[in-house]
Assembly symmetry: C2
Homo-oligomer: 373 residues x 2
């Protein structure tokens, strides 16, 4: 049984959308139980009509709900310890829940999660992992907005986090990992990316295969299972892909409406268009996974409808069942302790990595989305 803590007050629509989303999911799987955090009266009013959820959940009253437009600092001041968001997160720390899901605002959620759970030992900064539909299935892209301007060591950490997520989710024991860059040659790109590439190439990691640099065009082609980048470029890549999909959807609708013949064609191909719409539906890939914290938190789109919210919760359940947190711990331990030095450079390699890390003891000075005031 997987227990999931739910911020019932998060999102643009609140409990009226969140809870029906859980009811939908319970129709498909019976291995889940929920801890619902929110305004008891509002939650009970909705849950009265949701028999499966009523059986599978406990309600935990909270007085404070974090608003969607609240700044992270405000949210921390007003909602720390007592908001539905905080308590859902905290349930993963106390092991009352295996994972927490919120559709609340990203900045506040990341600030609270970082404050409440703290980063794992050996991890400087958290990352948000996104599921990216590709021609071959799905890839994981990280970071999509938690850490602006990651350095080389943080990028290496992200590779470990992303690979663990791919192993937990895709069932591949040795997923491929690429570093996002502006070209595939070693000489190109940001210094941080080149340096991270050098570290990943030189280190022998059994938990993933480092495939070198990948470009923006490669993500959707599914060239690697995991694509690693810092949060600024990652967020822009993700949103640019969303924008492009929306734009092409508009073009397609316009083209199908352009003549009598195209309208007739549309009628014949209606089923195919429906399949296409489902394939392009952003709800399918709903859920940003906060990685590198001492607790697992999944962020749903704020505007998600019940169906889309249920997809984010299903993702959270899969990650918990796939033992994501344990995998990450194991992988980090292996990376930092059990590594096998290459013949002839036992010391050089290990000490050079230790040196790199010791040069970056502080979080990136460039700031963190949603954490700074």
């Amino acid at each position: 049984m997987t227990t999931i803590a739910i911020d019932a007050m998060g999102g643009d629509h609140g409990p009226g959308t969140i809870l029906p989303g859980l009811e939908i999911l319970l129709g498909a799987r019976s291995d889940l139980s929920f801890r619902l955090y929110g305004d008891e009266a509002k939650v009970e009013a909705v849950i009265a009509d949701l028999p499966r959820l009523k059986r599978a959940s406990t309600v935990h009253h909270t007085d404070v709900a974090v608003a969607m437009d609240e700044k992270p600092s405000q949210a921390l001041r007003s909602g720390r310890y007592k908001s539905s968001m905080w308590q859902a997160i905290e349930a993963t720390k106390t092991h009352e829940a295996d994972v927490a899901v919120s559709a609340g605002n990203t900045g506040a959620l990341m600030a609270m999660a970082t404050f409440c759970l703290r980063t794992m030992a050996n991890i400087d900064r958290p990352a948000i992992g996104a599921i990216w539909p590709t021609l071959k299935g799905e890839a994981i892209v990280l970071d999509v907005g938690a850490t602006i301007g990651a350095d080389a060591v943080q990028l290496v950490d992200f590779a470990i986090l992303g690979a663990a997520m791919a192993r937990a989710l895709f069932g591949k024991e040795c997923p491929t990992v690429g570093l996002l860059n502006v070209g595939t040659e070693d000489i190109k790109g940001q210094e941080e990316v080149k340096e991270a590439g050098r570290i990943l190439r030189e280190r022998r990691l059994s938990t993933f295969h480092y495939s070198g640099f990948v470009e923006g065009t490669d993500i959707g082609q599914g060239v690697t299972d995991v694509v690693v980048t810092e949060g600024f470029a990652g967020n822009i890549a993700l949103k640019t892909a969303e924008g492009t999909a929306k734009q092409l959807g508009s073009y397609l609708r316009e083209a199908m409406q352009s003549s009598m013949m195209s309208k007739i064609g549309y009628l014949f191909a209606r089923d195919a268009f429906r399949q296409l719409r489902e394939k392009m539906d952003p709800a399918r890939a709903n859920g940003g996974v906060f990685l590198g914290l001492n607790g697992l938190v999944v962020k749903s789109h704020g505007g998600a409808d019940a169906e889309a919210f249920s997809a984010a919760v299903a993702l959270a359940a899969d990650l918990a069942k796939g033992n994501l947190q344990h995998r990450i711990h194991d992988d980090l331990d292996r990376f930092h302790a059990d590594r096998i030095p290459a013949p002839g450079d036992e010391d050089t390699e290990a000490s050079s990595f230790a040196r790199e890390r010791s040069q970056t003891p502080e979080p990136s000075p460039k700031g963190q989305t949603g954490k700074k005031k």
Copy 2:
């Protein structure tokens, strides 16, 4: 009459594709003449069958052609002064041509153009501007790969360069300019971007309207005429959009082949699909514009066919006719000399900008795509 210098040896296919591209363009416009740089024998062999081009061009023999896989440093060593690429670029310096076009490799072209033409006074680093099809028409996105890790002052320079390009190309006297960021709130994102936003907000520029931060989703929606970012994120955004378009094209083809009904639908809607394909055709937007140099250079995709190459040359011709270089000079002069201080802070504003600039006299230490060895 606009004179265009052509690197006839550039691109994956060489003169056999480049020169027919020019012939196509001459069928549509009669205001162009060409200076063709390349192996005379090869050029003459192709041109013999292209009567319009034969009349409208002069051939200038060069012994050396830069290979598509040559590193910028190699290309400079072997091709400086004597390659078709170099001589086409140099023709814009000597005013024998108004603009140069090459389908040669980007790194070599940028290195040669920067070495030959040098950056304009008051411009630290060049940018590559790309035309981005949007729901409202077209936008200009820069930098898409010349300057990795631009600082705040360089981002402001890019805003001026991009706005001048929009004025030359779109005929808008006051285009809108957005800074690409991970959110639209002032507190979000890279320090460099926040600082550039502050400078653009505080300064009063008559040549464009600064619209604040834009996100990846906004580019394709045409929220602003110009989108400014540093070369790493810009290159990744551009290639991610290309990849997403390709991916959705695959989904669409697959959906239309999925059943007998969808195949029939496709036949009815064939014209609409043809229009859609044309709209999504990357050749339509072929041409990266090198901005901030003392000479105008346009880069065509290396793999461009004759039609796509002609689109890049048409873009070059439009920019030359739109007096892009003069506009940039004027705008930079206005920005650096003729600015009107806000009441009460005549000195503060001007001197703070001078201070910012004086702190960054050197090109970005983070390296430049295609310029470093």
